[in-house]
């Protein structure tokens, strides 16, 4: 019963969010088909008006149509999975998504994996060594890392790794002369190309998950049930594992999914800086050339991603927390 309720909520939320997306992009000045029309007119030697008509057809957008109709078409398209047309790249947005999404997901999930596990381990360790030097050192380092905006870190890595040390390739997900496939050579070079974004995305995560875990652990250490465990004579290792960390990590696991969702959109700067062809990179391109079709499509994708991730997070949380399971 409540699952249906949830699904309904998600449906409505997606609907509303997409509406806002649509109207934001619509308020951008200019006719998105213009650029396309110009190139059509030139290549086929026809009048601009005729070219405009053709261009509008291709994109599926007619400025003379009332706004409402365009809006409804847009919504219908999204719900059948059609994300629109990119005037700059002259392909459907879906094709771009097919190419780019895997790379973004690749970097985001590996970076989150590394960031989460490293961060959580260090955070728990730091909380255990309360009031010692380690518990001053680790949180301070983490705080400093958090003070570095993600893209500043990216620029720094690009500079040090790419220019000074010449370790990083200067762009792309893999070299042009290689064919993508699941063979070791390709996988190796894929990682090589993703090194920059991976570092730039995982390091801030180590810091944030680390601080969060340390915070949770510190709070839980003061709880009565930990005290009672100590009174019962349980060894520190057992208490750390089953009483402190187990309880501390629960809320974090839920945030994992949400974090990945938001990263879809937030990854833009990093990908732009490293010239890494993921969703964010194309989003950046769309903005600089004012490719409205691509913008709307990618933006919608990102919003859907966030909503989906939030939903998954809620389900995850209800599965792992025995207190919530009852519902």
């Amino acid at each position: 019963m409540s699952i249906l309720n949830k699904l309904l909520q998600i449906f409505i939320m997606t609907f509303l969010a997409l509406t806002v997306v649509f109207f934001i992009v619509q308020s951008m000045p200019g006719d998105p088909a213009f650029g396309l029309a110009v190139s059509i007119a030139q290549s086929r030697n026809m009048s601009l008006d005729k070219a405009l008509e053709i261009a509008h057809n291709i994109i599926g957008y007619n400025p003379k149509e009332p706004l409402i109709l365009r809006y409804l078409k847009f919504i219908r398209n999204i719900f059948v999975g059609n994300f629109g047309y990119s005037t700059y790249f002259k392909t459907s947005v879906n094709e771009i998504i097919e190419k780019a999404l895997p790379w973004t997901l690749f970097v985001i999930s590996i970076a989150t994996f590394i960031g989460f596990f490293t961060g959580v381990t260090l955070g728990a360790f730091s909380a255990q060594k309360r009031s010692t030097f380690i518990d001053t050192l680790i949180p301070t380092i983490f705080s400093i890392i958090q003070a570095i905006p993600a893209f500043v870190l990216a620029v720094f890595i690009l500079f040090v790794g790419g220019v000074k040390l010449r370790l990083l390739p200067l762009g792309g997900a893999y070299p042009i002369n290689m064919n993508p496939g699941l063979y070791p050579g390709f996988i190796l070079t894929a990682f090589h190309h993703a090194l920059g974004p991976l570092l730039a995305t995982s390091i801030p995560q180590i810091a944030s998950w680390g601080l969060a875990m340390r915070g949770n652990c510190s709070n839980i250490i003061e709880e009565d049930f930990v005290r009672f465990a100590k009174i019962r004579g349980l060894p520190d290792s057992t208490i750390a594992r089953r009483y402190v960390r187990k309880n501390a990590i629960l809320p974090l696991v839920a945030s994992l999914a949400i974090g990945i969702g938001y990263m879809l959109g937030g990854h833009t700067l990093v990908e732009v800086i490293f010239n890494y062809p993921g969703i964010g990179y194309y989003f950046g391109q769309a903005i600089s050339v004012r490719d409205f079709g691509l913008l709307t499509g990618l933006f919608s994708l990102i919003v859907i991603g966030v909503i989906l991730a939030t939903f998954i997070a809620e389900i995850l949380y209800s599965i792992i927390d025995p207190r919530v399971k009852a519902q």
Partner: protein, 284 residues
């Protein structure tokens, strides 16, 4: 008031953070008075490393970096503070209304807040900046645009706080005494929220700064060429510092200042939180 402020300065994190922040604020406020801004190019002097004449060296155009940083501090701090301020004001008002009133208004506000939460802030910000890029902007407009994508989390938290305060007994008492809604809002609820709002304001500064610098870095909505984000943009994209190891100090110095400013804010916020949240205190 003094009781509020004095314990803050006894806390070492807050103190160091405050010192960092003050240095930058000083830089922003009186710096430009002492250090003139000379934007004429002098190619002969480009990419000079730090020296006595140019404490931070020179950039691609031979312009002294130190003076740019000092002048840029105004834009950076000003923009972030304004954006944070707007975000906090909007977030507080929406949050308090949503928390205090029930029924249709609350549900409506709830939906609005959720929409803004679900839409990823940075991409949305980019789009909006692109929309306005053809028009000339001033600092207030940019601050408002940034604030639009910062207020939602605060509104949600404040409304949760208000909800929990609302159910406490002393509110019941005020209501029974017919003291009127404005009284309840201002005298009963607000004072409890103020430390929370204040801490949130300081924390927002980090987000506002990241957003604003990121925005400028991508070349959108630049309203001041000495804004550190814009400087970073020049450093990397226009001036090709990326490919000249000589010019390494140029982006590094900019990044360092950005990091130190944000870190000062973080320390300050952490310090204040430690003072007012006893659970975080260490025992001596």
């Amino acid at each position: 008031m003094k009781d509020f402020i004095r314990p803050i300065f006894k806390n070492i994190k807050a103190l160091i953070g405050f010192i960092f922040l003050s240095i930058f604020i000083l830089m922003a406020s009186i710096g430009p008075l002492f250090i003139p801004l000379n934007l004429t190019s002098n190619f002969a002097e480009r990419y000079q490393p730090p020296s006595l004449k140019h404490p931070y060296g020179t950039d691609y155009f031979g312009i002294d970096i130190f003076q740019q940083i000092v002048h840029g501090a105004r834009s950076v701090i000003g923009l972030s503070v304004l954006a944070s301020l707007f975000a906090v004001i909007i977030g507080s008002i929406v949050g308090i209304i949503r928390g205090y009133l029930g029924g249709v208004i609350s549900k409506l506000l709830d939906t609005i807040i959720t929409i803004f939460l679900v839409i990823p802030s940075f991409p949305a910000l980019l789009i909006m900046a692109a929309i306005f890029s053809d028009k000339s902007l001033n600092i207030i407009a940019v601050a408002l645009i940034i604030a639009m994508w910062l207020w939602a989390p605060l509104a949600k938290q404040i409304s949760a706080q208000v909800l929990s305060i609302k159910s406490k007994e002393f509110i019941e008492t005020s209501r029974m005494l017919n003291l009127g809604t404005p009284y309840i809002l201002f005298k009963d609820i607000m004072p409890l929220l103020i430390p929370y709002i204040f801490i949130n304001f300081i924390t927002q500064l980090k987000g506002a700064m990241e957003f604003s610098v990121g925005l400028m870095f991508l070349g959108l909505a630049k309203f001041d060429p000495t804004h550190w984000g814009v400087m970073l943009n020049y450093a990397l994209y226009q001036a090709g510092a990326l490919y000249t190891p000589r010019g390494f100090h140029y982006p590094v110095i900019i990044m360092l200042h950005i990091i130190l400013l944000i870190y000062g804010g973080i320390l300050f916020a952490q310090g204040i939180e430690e003072v007012y949240n006893p659970k975080l205190r260490r025992y001596e």
